[in-house]
């Protein structure tokens, strides 16, 4: 692209632009079915719902940039939510620490992932699968034995459903903050550079004197924490925590990140793309759901749309 263009325009790669174009196209198609798809309430509602996926996908993106993947999202989400609600059972002190405690539990899952992937060199796909199973087991034990408290605290409710700035739901603000933080980290900090570097070639990064294992560990911990935060917000939204609440977020999170132009093999991608991907997936799911399409048709269209969009812009370059 032209060098004289402002740098933020230059950075917009084709994938991001097309992803946003697809969002507009989806909305137009939706509005053919019902004009309420263009109503501000509906759009705001979608943005709000997208925020949960957005927060979770942020962590997923960080891990994918490293060339890894985090399959422990489902139970990291649930663990975060359930533990936060559990803490709330311990009086006011518990309620005050509910959110940090929930996040901490997610971080703990992430740390285990990170230790396995970075220090034991276990492929992330299987390591995170195993921690997911362990987290699930732990939650089953917990639910079965400790008279679980699973109502969200007022603070969680407020974060998920309130709006400090009139008209803008708090979750959207939280997502914006998380996103802004991630953009800053990825573009301005040495940690961010290292993430891209490791995603491209960990060996070279290591020989450059980077403590690559620590970076990978931190990235997984952050991803676990963000999954848990997503779970906490979801619990606030639903006003309670449930075991299965994370199931619906794993594949959409991966799909959103990739639809946003991030390379699944790591080292390439921008957060703007992830935003687009998250909104795309959320809208697509919502429109298909409201259109009264039977489940089968919905699955088929969902899959086809993802493939078609990726064929539009997500193809790797031909070598010749």
């Amino acid at each position: 692209m032209n060098e004289r263009m402002p740098s933020f325009v230059r950075r917009l790669d084709r994938a991001v632009v097309i992803a946003f174009a697809c969002i507009v196209l989806l909305l137009i198609l939706g509005s053919l079915y019902s004009s309420s798809f263009l109503s501000p309430e509906y759009l705001l509602q979608q943005l709000k719902v997208a925020s949960f996926l957005g927060v979770i996908a942020t962590g997923m993106m960080l891990v994918i940039l490293l060339g890894q993947i985090d399959l422990s999202v489902p139970w990291a989400v649930s663990t975060g939510a359930m533990m936060a609600c559990a803490a709330a059972a311990y009086g006011d002190v518990g309620a005050a620490f509910a959110i940090p405690f929930g996040i901490l539990c997610g971080v703990a899952i992430g740390v285990v992932n990170g230790l396995g992937v970075a220090y034991l060199r276990i492929p992330s796909m299987i390591m995170t699968l195993a921690t997911n199973a362990v987290a699930q087991g732990a939650m089953v034990v917990y639910t079965g034995g400790f008279s679980p408290q699973d109502s969200a605290t007022g603070a969680m409710r407020f974060l998920a459903t309130g709006s400090m700035i009139p008209g803008i739901p708090n979750v959207v603000i939280i997502w914006a903050l998380v996103g802004a933080g991630m953009v800053f980290v990825l573009t301005r900090t040495s940690f961010g550079r290292c993430v891209y570097g490791i995603g491209n070639r960990e060996r070279a990064a290591y020989l450059s004197g980077i403590n690559t294992r620590r970076i990978v560990l931190i990235a997984f911990a952050v991803a676990g924490g963000l999954s848990a935060l997503g779970g906490i917000l979801l619990a606030g939204y639903a006003s309670k925590a449930a075991q299965s609440m994370g199931d619906a977020y794993l594949l959409p999170a991966i799909a959103a990140v990739v639809l946003g132009g991030t390379s699944i093999i790591g080292g390439r991608g921008s957060y703007l793309g992830t935003i687009a991907g998250v909104i795309l997936i959320t809208l697509l799911q919502s429109i298909l759901s409201v259109m009264q399409m039977p489940e089968a048709g919905r699955q088929i269209i969902y899959g086809l749309v993802i493939i078609v969009m990726l064929l539009l812009y997500g193809r790797t370059a031909a070598e010749r």
């Binding site: 509602q45 079965g144 679980p148 409201v290």
Partner: protein
């Protein structure tokens, strides 16, 4: 090989036959104490955990424990073949009766054959088996749908727009409830415009799809949800949707909201399938082993609580979790657990 006899069954209050056509079985009497196994599938949700804990608590009751030599529980997850194998293993290990919450109603034909040959009593509950060779203990899923249909018809005598939040596509529970509902709406002869969304029996999902439906197709005159009802009400509140009549399940959270907003128009009927049915299944299995007459299909009473009847501390528990299923007792069978008693059990024992 049970003998087909004529009713009534041994404990007619508890072992109520499904219908007039239901057969009655009398298994050859065996000497106790018995070895009974529970082959559970999925475990990672509150309903299942509550169910497993109830089973353990029931088996530990002195009068029941006296009849049992061993009570073993195995959860195999969502995978049907794993559950089939577990049952096979129980058969090979010589258990007298096997209780199963089947992941799939039709998949167990081969293993049912084997159980029959081996003289093992097979009792299915909740997700029952499509066969006459096992005893089925269940609530009337279609009846639940009918209950909700009737409820909506009652409050919307002129028809109207209804939001139906369904469960997991392709499961028989979802289909039965859906069919029951629509039959009743149809039978009313009024015009009901139903918007269906899939809530997956999950609060988060149900809330999301309900919110979407309200934003695009709302407002609705009546709502029914198969599960995740707390989320659906939450979505109404968030969207400032007026409270309307609601037919739903038995989650504590849902009932809390029903009690609270009844005056504002949230007229609820709440009924469902409590996890304590596992205890009825165990009781049935023991009765069968003892050679008592039992129906092939046991119909559990629907514990219905409707608007105006919600009693604190009995039908809902304001200080407790939203998440568990109230109605954990079947008084006709002498099974009276409260949910907190079950879910807190280990803690108290410690």
């Amino acid at each position: 090989e049970p003998e087909v006899v004529s009713g009534p069954s041994a404990d007619p209050e508890c072992f109520a036959p499904w219908s007039a056509e239901t057969k009655f079985y009398k298994f050859p009497k065996k000497d106790g104490p018995f070895r009974i196994a529970l082959a559970n599938g999925y475990i990672a949700n509150t309903w299942r955990i509550q169910m497993v804990q109830t089973a353990k608590a029931y088996a530990a009751q002195p009068d029941v424990a006296a009849k049992l030599k061993e009570f073993k529980v195995v959860s195999t997850g969502e995978d049907v073949p794993a559950q089939i194998s577990a049952i096979n293993n129980f058969i090979d290990s010589g258990y007298d009766a096997i209780i199963v919450n089947a992941q799939n109603p039709t998949a167990f034909a081969p293993v049912i054959k084997r159980a029959k040959q081996a003289g093992v009593v097979l009792v299915a509950f909740d997700n029952i088996l499509d066969t006459e060779d096992a005893i089925n203990v269940n609530v009337d899923q279609k009846g639940l749908g009918e209950l909700w249909g009737d409820w909506l018809v009652k409050y919307l005598p002129n028809g109207g727009k209804v939001l139906e939040v369904r469960g997991v596509a392709g499961t028989s529970v979802d289909t039965d409830r859906h069919t029951g509902l629509h039959e009743k709406l149809q039978a009313s002869g009024k015009e009901f415009k139903v918007t269906e969304v899939m809530g997956k029996w999950d609060d988060g999902v149900a809330q999301k799809v309900a919110a979407d439906a309200i934003a695009t197709n709302g407002p609705f005159d009546g709502i029914t949800a198969q599960g995740g009802d707390t989320g659906v009400v939450q979505a109404m509140i968030d969207a400032k949707h007026p409270f309307v009549p609601f037919g739903g399940e038995t989650e504590n959270g849902f009932r809390k909201l029903c009690a609270k907003h009844s005056a504002d128009g949230l007229k609820c009927t709440s009924a469902g399938s409590g996890p304590a049915q596992v205890a009825v299944a165990i009781k049935t299995a023991i009765a069968a082993l003892e050679g008592q007459v039992i129906p092939q299909e046991v119909k559990l009473p629907l514990a219905i609580t409707s608007d105006g009847e919600f009693k604190e501390g009995q039908d809902f528990f304001p200080t407790e979790s939203d998440n568990f299923f109230v109605g954990n007792s079947f008084p006709t069978c002498g099974i009276n657990f409260t949910a907190q008693e079950i879910m807190g059990q280990t803690k108290e024992n410690q």
